[in-house]
Amino acid sequence: MLLRSPGFAGENTAPFELKGSLFTLTVMHLFQLDRLAIERHLAEKVKKAPSFFNNTPVVIDLEGLTEPKNGMDGVDFNGLYELLRGHGMAPVGIRNGSPELQEVARRAGLPVLPESRSAGVARKPERAEPTPARNRLINHPVRSGQQIYASEGDLIVLGTVSAGAEVIADGNIHIYGALRGRALAGVKGDVETWIFCQSLEAELISIAGRYRISEQLDPADRGKAMQVHLVDDRLVIDHLTR
């Protein structure tokens, strides 16, 4: 039962407000509509990781689905919905697929989510071998206002990183020049990452979220070739010597 708000309904007492938000959802890339096949595969998955299928919201992606030969008659999204619910998944909608498929889904009460270009649809799972680290080499100075991100690898800059510039990497950061801007290594949480630079004049250095700003740097280290890493969760800044 709804609670009744007191009588002084002012501007700030609206019963709700709508706001956009982003969620991480599991996407189920559906390749065929064979109910039995889906059920069998699903049962296997649930057996492997039962805790994963605990009311897990899931989006059904129809991009890889081969069109059913006998038209839309055999398409039963209601059945699919029940099947998924029964295995601990909570379908929140579909995406992609032909307009006809989307129409059927809509009639089954499944919202059609706007298409977003997901990186690489998992159509060929056999090719999902571990990708090698993707290092990024920048052979020009990084100027004020520029932001460079090396995802899943190291960032190597052959030049200066200016004040007001930002270099970011999931891995290590190597700067063969002065670091005057911000450098953030291990931004996905890798505490084993390092930052190296030829002249430390940084605005901010950070490894796996532990950071130090310019003010907190030892003036004696300023302008020197330095290396930065984490020891026991603390940033340690050493001279770049061997």
């Binding site: 020009h140 100075p141 990084v142 100027r143 004020s144 206002g145 520029q146 030049g159 200066t160 200016s162 004040a163 007001g164 510039a165 005057r180």
Partner: protein
Amino acid sequence: MATVIVVTSGKGGVGKTTTSASFATGLAQRGYRTVVIDFDVGLRNLDLIMGCERRVVYDFVNIINGEANLNQALIRDKRVENLHILPASQTRDKEALTKEGVERVLNDLRQSFEYIVCDSPAGIERGALMALYFADEALVVTNPEVSSVRDSDRILGILASRSRRAEQGDPPVKEHLVLARYAPERADRGDMLSVEDVLEILGIPLLGVIPESQTVLQSSNSGVPVILEDGSDAGVAYGDLVDRFLGKNLPHRFITPQKKGFLKRLFGGG
């Protein structure tokens, strides 16, 4: 093949238009067919500095919109042969500068000019982006002062990433540093950044150092590009700058404090 040169800085008031006017005038004096375009739509200034404000009929935006042809809008300089000015519109805003329109006008100008100098507005918005987009070379004007240098650094980043050359993967825009309003005595005292400081931060070749000078203000107000003021330090410095741009190897002047003679020191002249 015409060369498009943008005169840019990021920050306002550092001497872009003064540099555009003198640079274009210097190129024309040396015999090159040169046009200088005011990209500061809505804040038209170049015509004042060039002393042709009373002869503006049509402008850059008129041509972009097809309301006039180039010959109607180009103003021929009365003092220097080979020099033309394309004024900005004072009544429009920067949104009137479309990429297609600017490209069309530049392509037309390429037919009849060897150097096309684009005087950029301050900032990093549309006007500035359009002024630099088609550039082959860039004069980055900066003052020996930290905020000006940082803004120039920003513009250099934009030149390297958002110019047509960058977008099409062509050889990058050739960058030249113009250090304007430089006072060697004050740099020596540490009041302002030195030439070395600025070069260390920006890391691009130095094309010229323009000394701080009263003449610049006077010549701006009288509508004469300072390069035409015989005997002024700033004018001489712009002359050197143009020669260096054209490939001459000249030492930099006006970068060390002038030794004052005994009498001058005694009476505080300067």
